[in-house]
Symmetry: C2
Subunit: 267 residues, 2 copies
């Protein structure tokens, strides 16, 4: 999917909601256990119930790897089921030396046809650029993450420049708004205005709204650009909104609540 | 495997060699293609030919993921085949918020019984500590990596402290030499002395000897502590030493060459 196509579906759906598919066997409704692949079945029902309300899905790969090759299969089936109408993000936080990053790109972009992959910037340029060689695919680089540990290294400062700011500045030399996005945690709403100045055209993937304490209105007001420029992720509040046979319906209700808020913020 | 057991096998084998299993279908000898799982077959023959010469094996997970769930299966079989006599490192460079890192730990420590996993520190404390909850398992945290991009962020400096130094200092508050190691690239031999002062007891996993230009003698002289304290990795020079039917024999010759050098450096 291109940046223009992403912008188009945001306008059409009046939504910039991404739903995280961090599907955990211990958290899904027990009636799903009877299926051969309960994780895929859960995802399928969540997708069916929410697909008109969100513009992106984001499986976190860890939750699939935890079940070995069977889990990897559930991930492959999930990616295929999402299809091409949504922006598909592999939340994998990969990054390794050049030839190795190229293998990760192969796994997520070619094998599973994801549109984007989250990448950790610690190893620098040659760990990031191999992902940029794929047409109409995006790197979503960790910049300022939503968790408490983000303070440990991302906020270190050299000559007035934080580590996360250098990540953004350098990354926009390696790529551009058509192939590079940044993870900016919703737990730092007061930083969004300055970060938007540093990266006026890039989309930001924003985790941390809801359970982690981030505020949708504040980050939207401070972080939007004229084509929206935000993909706001919600996981637990939506996919685990219910725990009974009506879990998908509950997820839909919650997703609709968020979409309605987004519709207001977009207008 | 505990730190004491690792020290013991280093003494017994007079070796601190780790062999990287970055197995790439396009690089393995063509006669292996007839097997159902050529990647596993290649690994098996390399392991059989080198197991008395090295103390650790390190599959880089990217090379398996690139083949989807089938590749994941090859990784599972490889981990099982290595067994318990070697230190088994999953070179995965994972790291995510707490509950997610715990899922990665489940995948590599419990499902596949790896002794250690490489972890990227960018997200800070709560992305690293979930891996430390597993007994007799190790985090190998990226500190100063061997690639050219290591200069981009790892060498940023705040109040005289580089990012990679803060990583080491903080990480030794989260863990200790019994559950925490560091990746220090062989391409920075002049840094080893100072880094050893900062982390006197931790093992260092050292990539970048050989193809990437690092020098075994220099990093050993500058980086060893009184229990060796180094695990030096070699990948391409060993596993791709030959490309014919005798590839495993060629790998053995190359591994033996390195082991002989190590034997001298240990005495």
């Amino acid at each position: 999917m291109t940046r223009q196509e992403l912008i188009k579906i945001i306008k059409q759906k009046k939504s910039y909601l991404c739903i995280g598919l961090d599907t955990d066997l211990e958290k899904i409704p027990t009636h799903l256990k009877k299926y051969d692949d309960p994780i895929f079945e859960f995802n399928k029902q969540i997708i069916d119930a929410t697909k008109d309300l969100c513009i992106a899905y984001k499986p976190n790969v860890a939750f699939y790897e935890a079940y070995g090759s069977a889990g990897w299969k559930s991930l492959e089936k999930t990616a295929a089921y999402i299809g091409d109408e949504h922006f598909k993000i592999a939340d994998a936080k990969r990054g390794d030396i050049g030839n190795t990053s190229a293998r990760y790109a192969e796994a997520f972009f070619n094998q599973m046809n994801f549109d984007a992959i989250t990448v950790a910037p610690y190893m620098g340029e040659d760990s990031v650029t191999p992902f940029l060689k794929f047409e109409n695919k995006f790197v979503i680089l960790l910049a300022l993450t939503s968790n408490s540990g983000s303070k440990d290294f991302q906020l270190m400062e050299e000559n007035g420049e934080h580590v996360y700011e250098r990540v953004i500045r350098k990354a926009n030399n390696w790529g551009n708004a058509d192939n590079m996005m940044f993870v900016i945690g919703a737990t730092y709403p007061e930083y969004f205005h300055d970060i938007r100045e540093l990266a006026p055209d890039n989309f930001f993937l924003v985790p941390g709204v809801g359970a982690q304490g981030g505020d949708l209105i504040e980050i939207s007001e401070n972080g939007m650009n004229d084509v929206c420029g935000l993909i706001v992720n919600s996981t637990r509040e939506i996919i685990y909104a219910g725990n009974g046979e009506d879990f998908a319906e509950k997820a839909r209700e919650k997703a609709m609540e968020v979409q309605k808020q987004m519709q207001k913020l977009l207008s």
